[in-house]
């Protein structure tokens, strides 16, 4: 994966609007968060292969942390803390945020076909 290129990702977001897409949206602070540090609250969620469609979307932020917002007919998709995108994917938009140890914290992925 490569560090996010804001202009390129904005183009990709624009290209994918107004069509049904499968989404994978995930946020986690790790299954061992509370085990390693009892004061930490273990929290995670993901939603995979829900079908969404947005009319309008954007990316913003300052390196290394970026935010994405996608406006749907009845609501929003929002993701903060994204740092990287997968440069080998052409029809899917694969973005993630990794912490200083390289671990995944957040993921936002959009695809015209389901994720495995």
């Amino acid at each position: 994966m490569l560090p996010i290129d804001l202009e390129y990702i904005q183009q990709r977001i624009d290209q994918m609007k107004d069509q049904d897409l499968y989404i994978h949206l995930e946020l986690t602070n790790g299954a061992y968060a509370a085990h390693n540090d009892a004061s930490r609250h273990p929290a995670a969620n993901f939603i995979k292969n829900a079908v969404i469609r947005y009319a309008h979307g954007g990316i913003s932020g300052v390196s290394p942390y970026y935010r994405v917002g996608l406006k749907m007919e009845h609501g929003w998709i929002y993701s903060e803390g994204l740092t990287h995108y997968e440069e080998t994917e052409n029809d899917r938009l694969i973005m993630a945020g990794h912490d200083k140890d390289g671990k995944l914290v957040v993921a936002l992925q959009l695809s015209p076909y389901p994720f495995e």
Binding site: G58, R67, K71
Partner: protein, 223 residues
């Protein structure tokens, strides 16, 4: 430096901020001062702060009830300040920077058109920490820039990002709001789901004055 040379009478004031409670610490004293001097104040609050993490202490709100609770807290804050014209613009918390610009700028421009304000208060874009704050200030600046120069209201902005004074210089407007710290404290206390400030209840006038007696703004320059 404009201090109390600044006029507080005969003004049409428009406040554009994204979250209920943005007004409290930053501008509520100045607004009370305008109102006391017979000026008109309209507060346009873009969202209901529905993504806030604070749920009251002890907990009394949840994700479902929070927007309605914050709406009432905002109305109460406005009553505390004396604001009668509150507009809730219906945008969603955390999304201002991603909003359809035509829709966002259109809503703000329509207010400017309707109210013909002499002065607008908002956040200083780029120096207001929260993306909604920056995006709100940026939208106001775009809307005012689009007006012919002779129709542009003064835009006063709030900045508080770390090191902002080194870049922007000191604020060029300092408003003495010592006579209005009671209203300011009441505005803060209105937002019960967000702020827990039991110490304000018993604070003396002198304490309040030293804590809240001055509000600071930067005037945005247009060329």
């Amino acid at each position: 430096m404009i201090t109390d040379m600044e006029r507080f009478d005969n003004q049409r004031v428009l406040v554009v901020l994204p979250h209920p409670d943005d007004e409290s610490f930053s501008v509520s004293g100045s607004l009370a001062k305008y109102l006391k001097n017979g000026s008109q104040v309209t507060y346009a609050c873009l969202t209901l702060g529905q993504m806030a993490r604070n749920m009251g202490s002890p907990l009394f709100a949840n994700r479902i009830t929070l927007p309605e609770i914050r709406k009432e807290e905002l109305a109460q804050s406005c009553r505390a300040i004396g604001i009668q014209d509150l507009r809730m613009l219906g945008f969603h918390d955390k999304t201002i920077e991603f909003e359809d610009r035509e829709l966002l700028d259109g809503a703000i421009s329509a207010l400017i058109e309707e109210l013909n304000p002499t002065v607008i208060y908002t956040f200083y874009p780029g120096y207001a920490v929260h993306p909604d704050h920056d995006a709100t200030g940026a939208a106001v600046v775009r809307c005012v820039e689009n007006l012919p120069a002779e129709r542009r209201p003064v835009v006063r902005a709030m900045a508080f990002s770390r090191g902002c004074e080194e870049i922007l210089g000191p604020p060029d407007v300092r408003v003495d709001v010592k006579d209005f710290v009671k209203q300011k404290a009441a505005s803060i206390q209105s937002h019960k789901s967000q702020f827990w400030v039991p110490e304000l209840k018993k604070a003396s006038q002198k304490d309040l004055e030293s804590r809240f007696g001055t509000e600071r703004f930067w005037t945005i320059k247009f060329d």
